[in-house]
Symmetry: C2
């Protein structure tokens, strides 16, 4: 524990703060899914091929901690949990929209070098 004050742009720069919140392999994608409306855990799980329950749960809790999404647990058996965007999450949508536009317009897969050749 160094008590030295490190001057980092983390707090100074809004870009930095935002970036930290949305960083994560699935965060933005999950926000995109939730922009379509309230969804259950299983919905998100099914619509996010490749993710594990553990990861999904983790990412969702992080997004919840950031105040971007909210979680509603139905007092039922079997459990039912719904996730939805908060006000903050709704306000994030323009960013997502611009990102999607940018990606769709300029980031065509065929221009990249990546290929979905499986795990070869």
């Amino acid at each position: 524990m160094k008590s030295e004050k490190k001057i980092i742009p983390s707090v100074t720069c809004p870009i930095f703060r935002a970036q930290k919140i949305i960083s994560g392999k699935w965060k933005i994608y999950l926000l995109y899914l939730l922009s379509q409306g309230t969804k259950r855990f299983s919905d998100l799980y099914r619509e996010t091929p490749g993710i594990t329950q553990a990861m999904l749960s983790k990412q969702l809790r992080e997004l919840e901690a950031a105040g971007i999404i909210s979680r509603y647990v139905y007092p039922e058996i079997p459990p039912k949990v719904e996730y939805s965007l908060t006000e903050l999450g709704q306000n994030f949508m323009p960013v997502l929209d611009e990102l999607a536009k940018w990606s769709c317009t300029h980031l065509h897969p065929e221009e990249g070098e990546e290929k979905i050749s499986g795990s070869a």
Copy 2:
């Protein structure tokens, strides 16, 4: 070694593709810096407290590989290298703008749990 093709949204979803490109601790911030105009390596280095030359170099090369920024090397001694946004990078600015707006409007440091109390 499963030769099975994993169906991941990586390629399907534009959001996913974009996210992979801008992921990285400094990418977005560097794009922000370069949005202010062409800058030299040393400029970026000085304006990004906390980063190391190695990291800066790495991030810049990744951004360059993604076609978002361009690099111009002056044939001089001592070396002089300038970085600037490409067309693709310019087109990304709206995203950055929205992100900044979102962060500034809704992501006040005092609302979070983080505090820059430094050596407090």
